[in-house]
């Protein structure tokens, strides 16, 4: 069994033993999404137009919620040292952790968001766009958030600082993700957006594991 798969399996097993942690994040997503119509008003046309942005923003905040614990648990119980001492690249370990985060957060959000989209009166094709763009866009969020989590390990006000660091870097993904759903709403295709989201995901994949590994090594010093 390779180290990468051992780490991935371990993290998934840990989440399986405490499913409440994931449920809370998804519940937050639902509550946050519902908050907007309550704050803005129930006018269906307006809601349909802003649904894309709301769903994406709520998904972003929900994903951020669970990121604080991504490395903090390992940092607090000493398991991070064991990862730093593993005889295989730390960049792969960072990737495994972010992948585990995506599987338990990004993936469920991508499946849950279209259901919320129904509350906003989105059309069938728009709902597909919501699911597809979240599926392709959330990996980048897990990686960016993973970097912010690694950089703020052991910092004061870690949670708020994590959001401050991650949110500006998530803006490109947010713009193209929400933009895709709006494109569908006005009758255009969303494949360009999807392609750009994919490119952003690849860019994150190509750069962030190294940054996350560097940040984790700093935490071990």
């Amino acid at each position: 069994m390779t180290g990468f798969s051992a780490l991935l399996a371990r993290d998934l097993r840990l989440v399986w033993r405490r499913p409440g942690d994931v449920m809370v994040v998804l519940a937050f997503f639902v509550v946050a999404t519902v908050l907007f119509p309550l704050g803005i008003g129930p006018e269906t046309n307006l809601l349909a137009r802003i649904a894309a942005g709301i769903l994406w923003c709520a998904a972003l905040f929900a994903a951020l919620l669970s990121l604080e614990r991504l490395f903090a648990a390992d940092y607090e119980d000493g398991a991070l040292d064991l990862l730093l001492l593993a005889p295989w690249p730390l960049e792969l370990a960072a990737l495994a952790k972010c992948l585990a985060h995506w599987i338990v957060t990004g993936l469920p959000l991508a499946l849950l968001a279209p259901l919320m989209g129904l509350l906003f009166g989105l059309s069938g094709e728009a709902l597909w766009a919501v699911a597809a763009t979240l599926l392709v866009g959330t990996p980048a969020l897990s990686l960016i958030g993973g970097l912010a989590a690694a950089l703020t390990l052991g910092a004061r006000r870690g949670g708020a600082l994590l959001a401050l660091l991650a949110l500006p870097l998530c803006v490109p993904t947010l713009i193209f993700g929400a933009g895709a759903v709006e494109a569908v709403a006005i009758g255009e295709g969303f494949l360009t957006h999807l392609a750009i989201l994919g490119a952003l995901a690849l860019l994150s994949l190509a750069t962030l594991p190294w940054a996350i590994a560097a940040a984790l090594r700093q935490a071990g010093e």
């Binding site: 069994m1 390779t2 180290g3 051992a6 780490l7 371990r10 097993r13 840990l14 033993r17 405490r18 648990a73 607090e76 119980d77 000493g78 398991a79 040292d81 064991l82 990862l83 730093l84 001492l85 593993a86 005889p87 295989w88 690249p89 071990g220 010093e221």
Partner: protein, 202 residues
């Protein structure tokens, strides 16, 4: 035959020297006890040996080669016990040990023997968070024993251990050294093991 050679190792933390020009050698079957007061740099020295902390000066050689030329290779040679236990609370003791072996890309064949050596066989399927501090420390030591690594780096291994557990540690260490292993332990109390040397850090 000298396996580990440390020359002139120095580390600074926050601009102040914490490890000052430490040199020693260690041969197979030897234990080096690092003693000294709190804050004398024992933990920093251990972390520098494990390459968790970057030393400012000095060299660490394993079998003649600088360990920084093959970091992953060096990581295969060491098993680490830090201040913290490194156990995941929601996994059972056995799962913790097995996962630790897999994370080192070592087959988990010595897990049961290690559990037995530290009298954890009956607790093997309990979640780690249900164990007492002493039991968790034993589990962490069992993790080290199961790792199948020649050099053990132990930070305060006797902490939280009762008398029978300390005896188990002595036995496990003795077996490890007798089989040609090496160990470096930062400790307040003496570890009563044959071939033990002491390095006092000022």
């Amino acid at each position: 035959m000298t396996e580990l050679e440390v020359t002139g190792l120095s580390c600074r933390r926050g601009g102040r020297p914490v490890v000052r020009n430490i040199s020693f050698t260690l041969a197979r079957g030897e234990l080096l006890a690092l003693t000294g007061r709190n804050g004398s740099g024992k933990t920093t020295l251990l972390r520098a040996l494990a390459l968790l902390v970057t030393a400012d000066e000095g060299a660490i050689r394993w079998q003649g080669t600088d360990i920084r030329h093959d970091r992953d290779g060096w990581r295969r040679q060491i098993a680490w016990l830090g201040h913290l236990d490194g156990l995941k609370g929601d996994l059972s003791v056995r799962e913790n040990l097995a996962t630790a072996c897999h994370l080192r890309e070592t087959p988990a064949i010595r897990v049961d023997d290690a559990l037995a050596a530290f009298d954890l066989t009956l607790l093997a399927n309990r979640a780690a968070r249900t164990l007492s501090a002493g039991q968790r420390r034993r589990a962490a030591l069992a993790r080290v024993a199961a790792a199948d690594a020649p050099l053990w780096l132990l930070d305060e291994p006797l902490n939280a251990l009762d008398a029978p557990s300390q005896a188990a540690l002595r036995t496990a260490l003795g077996d490890h050294l007798a089989a040609g292993g090496l160990a470096i332990a930062a400790t307040h109390a003496p570890i009563d093991v044959p071939n033990a040397r002491v390095l006092e850090l000022a």
